[in-house]
Amino acid sequence: MTLNMRSLLRYGIVVLIGLTLPLSDTLEPYTFQLAVLWIMILFALTWDIMGGQMGYFSFGNIFFFGAGMYICTLIQIGLYYDVAEYTAHFGAVPIHFTFTQYFTGIFVGLAAAGIASVAMAVILGSGVFGLRGHYFAIGTLGLAIAAAEVLGGVDYVGGGGGITIPIYPGDPDDRSLFFYYLCFVSAVATFAFLRWLYSTRFGLAINSIRDDEEKAEGMGIHTKRYKTVAWAISAFFLGICGGIFGNMVGFIEPLEVAFPWATYGVFMVLMVILGGKGTLWGPVIGAVVFHIIKELTWTYLLGWQWVALGTLIIVNVIFFQQGIVGWARDKWPERFGLIVDESMAAAPGREATARREPAE
């Protein structure tokens, strides 16, 4: 897959739209929402590395989001201040950082969040990747819940009361633009990286793990190493994303903001299956569609929005599992560069989404 003129143009348009969206006057009040949209896209993309491309169904990727958030915040504060003293006040005494203090803090924090998330993914991977199927899904879910519950009891990081993030030194409008572009850049970087990654041998290797792990291992692929690296990649982007999101919201606490396994943790799965798992554009489209559905139901079905969400999950999983992109690929395979052999009943693209018998 090389970039030809047409796809270059397409990417250019998307990037241009992303860059200019918050600058228009009508959309300016929605900058926060738009920034969240980019975060959603990042969520879906990182979940799809494991869930779609590798066939490992993780409920707990949100763990790295929260871990990155806490690490970034603690470093931001810890660089210039005593963390225990800061958290003891629950942010009641706001501390003003200077420009340099704030920006060195946030960028060092984000870098540390990414690196620490990778380290955690590698360490946890050795404990988690022997698990298959149900055990993996429930085990990773347990990871996220455990992190939320344990951090809620640790006073050093604010406990259940949370931490207030250092205040942005400057104009509030600049602040929202700053975070919008941070989210935008990280989502685009994730997409570009994954686009490259899926075109390499690595992409083929994790696809082979999805299709048949035993055979992949038999063919000499070091599956555990590939699985760990795949998890580390999603952890890296999620960790940074968590750091950004924590700063953007301005307040972090374990259950609702840092480890929201029941909200964002479920959204990331839903967005991917809505868009089409195991495809490059599927998560992106799924995230956009889901974000629109979510905002509509949250506005017009207030009180019933979660019921609508649960229904959406069930209906989506039962009747529309191939997702939007998967459906389009079945319908117009030639548009996806797939050659249809008329003598075979099914389009070649189907095999990738075909159901597998559980291994156990």
Binding site: E149, G310, N316, P358
Partner: protein, 307 residues
């Protein structure tokens, strides 16, 4: 770790915690048994298990709220949840019963969100208790207290378990369920209507959960969002015991109940859920290392079956 010293200094406290834990563990064992049933027969991991428990709890609570003794919630929840489980099977589960893990997990997860939010809309997010009003007995000169409702609920849970075992062993349907668990294709060849067996198994599971939930509402508390912990507990118990091992499920359930009480006392009750989830992770990791390189493709035959 000061609390450990307290336990050492006052041995009777151990008795108290152990007793409380065992009495609550009986309920965990019930829910886990239903979970094992569905896992073994339908090959579905039911994440909505906890919500079924909580729904049963609200049946007892509604009775209590209307001035009826909540103990009647047990049979009522059993009957109502049986019907509800049957309906859920027909509307949702029957579509996914032969599909992969991804589908079943996510669909039941969606079901879980749906039910918990409906409960939340109906009853609000307050923590509720259906007070049965039984006396509290004091043993060892007041050092150990046993509330009557816990003993009663333990006995009721035991009776329910015995009835279930007899039903599975002797009744025609119970035998059909066990046969389907052993080999669904062979069962179909032998003339068993496996679709009906699936529906009945799922309904029975919901009924067991409902009954367990009614007991939970009386001896502990219920809240729309408490469900997931029961699902995780059930999963853990069944993982430890294996889904064909009834005695194992009971022992693991009782053990977990006792373990939780001790953990809540030693670590503080804010860490109780963390303890449950941490234990689950530990169980999964230990299980993985025990299996080691033994894993191999076994197909989907569920050779152990459900007793």
């Amino acid at each position: 770790m000061d609390n450990i010293e307290i336990l050492v200094a006052v041995p009777l406290l151990n008795v108290q915690l152990l007793l409380d834990g065992l009495l609550i563990g009986a309920i965990f064992a019930l829910a886990a048994y239903g979970f094992a049933l569905v896992w073994g027969v339908l090959n579905v991991i039911n994440i909505a298990q906890g919500e079924f428990v909580i729904m049963g709890g609200y049946v007892a609570f509604v009775l209590f709220d209307n001035g009826i003794h909540p103990i009647w919630g047990l049979p009522l929840a059993f009957v109502l949840m049986f019907g509800f489980g049957w309906a859920v099977y027909r509307v949702v589960i029957s579509w996914i019963v032969d599909s992969d893990i991804f589908t079943t997990l996510l669909a039941t997860f969606g079901l879980s969100i749906l039910l918990q939010q409906l409960l939340n809309l109906q009853f609000g997010s307050d923590v509720q208790v259906a007070d049965a009003g039984f006396p509290v007995w004091a043993l060892f000169e007041g050092m150990v207290t046993v509330s009557g409702i816990k003993v009663v609920s333990f006995i009721l849970a035991a009776i329910l378990a015995v009835c279930l075992i007899l039903f599975m062993k002797n009744s025609r349907l119970g035998q059909a369920i066990r046969a389907t668990a052993q080999d669904r294709r062979a069962a179909r060849v032998m003339g068993i209507d496996t679709d009906r067996v699936y529906a009945m198994t799922f309904a029975l599971n919901a009924a067991i959960c409902g009954a367990a939930g009614a007991l939970v509402a009386m001896i502990w508390n219920i809240q729309p969002y408490f469900g997931i912990v029961y699902s995780l507990r059930s999963f853990m118990i069944v993982t430890v015991a294996g889904y064909g091992n009834l005695l194992g499920v009971i022992l693991a359930g009782l053990g977990l109940g006792a373990g939780e009480q001790f953990a809540a006392f030693i670590l503080g009750s804010e860490f109780q859920i963390a303890f449950v989830v941490g234990l689950l992770l530990l169980v999964l990791v230990v299980r993985q290392y025990l299996q080691g390189r033994k894993r191999q493709a076994v197909g989907r035959s569920l050779s152990s079956g459900v007793k």
